[in-house]
């Protein structure tokens, strides 16, 4: 699907977007946020949920579609305990992890997704001079496999691998981990590479 050079460029683009997102997250939490260098992954469908604990692990997923010059999905995933850590911090409360979130807690998590994805997409759009628009986020608290199934299934038309850019953000004190996935539709990112002047092999 992509050559090594193209993957490097996509990683760098991920870096620019994620750097912007980390700054926004840090401002929101008033805490230091560490960002891992984004990983560009081409892996079999079944392995995608491994980095968040496997297909049956209970996670929060905040999902957004983006379209315009590029099309794809953004998925922010927080394993159960991390989600409650984050919510407790945002709402200044001390609640134990459970099997549900109040409406207020959901809104807080959705807002984090909103801020992260808009800052990511804004950086991407500034850098490439492409017009991009992000949808209103959707919320789910469910099995990781189910949460990934929709964006992954779109790859089934092309082959047996998923392509995604994963960045992990770690909040300084409690080590709350937040996984941020950029999952472009099919080969939509080829047009992005062209836009920034990378020769794209066909």
């Amino acid at each position: 699907m992509y050559s090594d050079l193209e993957l490097d460029v996509l990683k760098e683009i991920g870096n620019i977007g994620a750097g912007n997102a980390a700054t926004a997250l840090s401002a929101l939490l008033s805490k230091k946020v560490d960002m891992q260098v984004p990983q560009v992954k081409m892996i079999p469908f079944d392995e995608v949920s491994e980095s968040v604990g496997g297909p049956e692990s209970l996670v929060v997923g905040i999902f957004m579609r983006f379209d315009g010059a590029l099309e794809g999905n953004i998925l922010m995933v927080l394993p159960k305990l991390d989600a409650f850590n984050l919510v407790n911090h945002l709402l200044n409360q001390d609640k134990k992890a459970s099997d549900s979130f109040t409406e207020m807690e959901q809104s807080a998590l959705v807002e984090v997704g909103n801020i992260l994805s808009s800052s990511f997409i804004t950086a991407l759009s500034d850098f490439t001079q492409m017009q991009l628009k992000v949808s209103v986020p959707g919320f789910a608290y469910d099995m990781a496999g189910a949460i990934f199934s929709f964006p992954l299934s779109l790859y089934g038309y092309m082959g047996d691998m998923a392509f995604l850019i994963e960045t992990q953000f770690t909040e300084g004190l409690d080590k709350t981990k937040l996984h941020f996935f950029l999952i472009p539709d099919d080969e939509s990112f080829k047009s992005l590479l062209k836009a920034i002047g990378v020769n794209v092999g066909e």
């Binding site: 049956e56 209970l58 999902f63 549900s100 789910a140 608290y141 496999g145 189910a146 949460i147």
Partner: protein, 164 residues
């Protein structure tokens, strides 16, 4: 007492087995799990289908397990090879959820519903009856199919456990 072996059926896979094996698919979202069973021979099959239609594949060579139309033919063939009689085979289906309610310009998010419709149409064209179903909604499902009893157990988070 018989010890049941548990066999995992991953995304885009299909597997067949004899009693007392248990076939399992974890965390179905928009995917659909189709369990076929010959209750006399106690032969079962489970397909974990991702997409409705192989005609939309951009590649000519593809894994048949991904698509409703090709996966179910392949699954039935494997069951017949194992000794199942197609006239006795009945089906149960689960999955096809839409996990996120996000508005988009096209129908792209409705893949779960389209998977369910494609599976029903395909089973109908194969003259296989659907005797149980738990589909759509907005939540994930883990399914376990017992080749000993033909019972399909559906586990969810916060929505309880169901058997078909």
């Amino acid at each position: 007492m018989l010890v049941s072996e548990i066999v995992r059926v991953g995304m885009a896979e299909y597997k067949v087995a004899k009693s007392p094996t248990i076939l399992v698919s974890l965390g179905l979202g928009s995917c659909v799990g189709v369990a076929l069973y010959d209750s006399v021979k106690k032969i079962g099959g489970l397909a974990h289908i991702m997409l409705p239609d192989s005609n939309s594949s951009s590649k000519k060579l593809f894994n048949p397990g991904k698509f409703a139309d090709t996966a179910l033919d392949a699954l039935l063939q494997e069951m017949i090879k194992l000794g199942a009689n197609p006239r006795r085979i009945e089906g149960k289906i689960a999955g096809g959820a839409q996990m996120f309610q996000v508005k988009t310009d096209n129908n792209i998010m409705k893949i779960g519903k389209r998977n369910v419709e494609a599976v029903r149409a395909k089973l109908d064209s194969m003259n296989l009856k659907i005797i149980g179903q738990d589909v759509e909604g907005n939540y994930g499902r883990t399914i376990e199919f017992s080749c000993e009893t033909g019972i399909l157990t559906i586990k969810t988070i916060g929505k309880g456990t169901k058997t078909l």
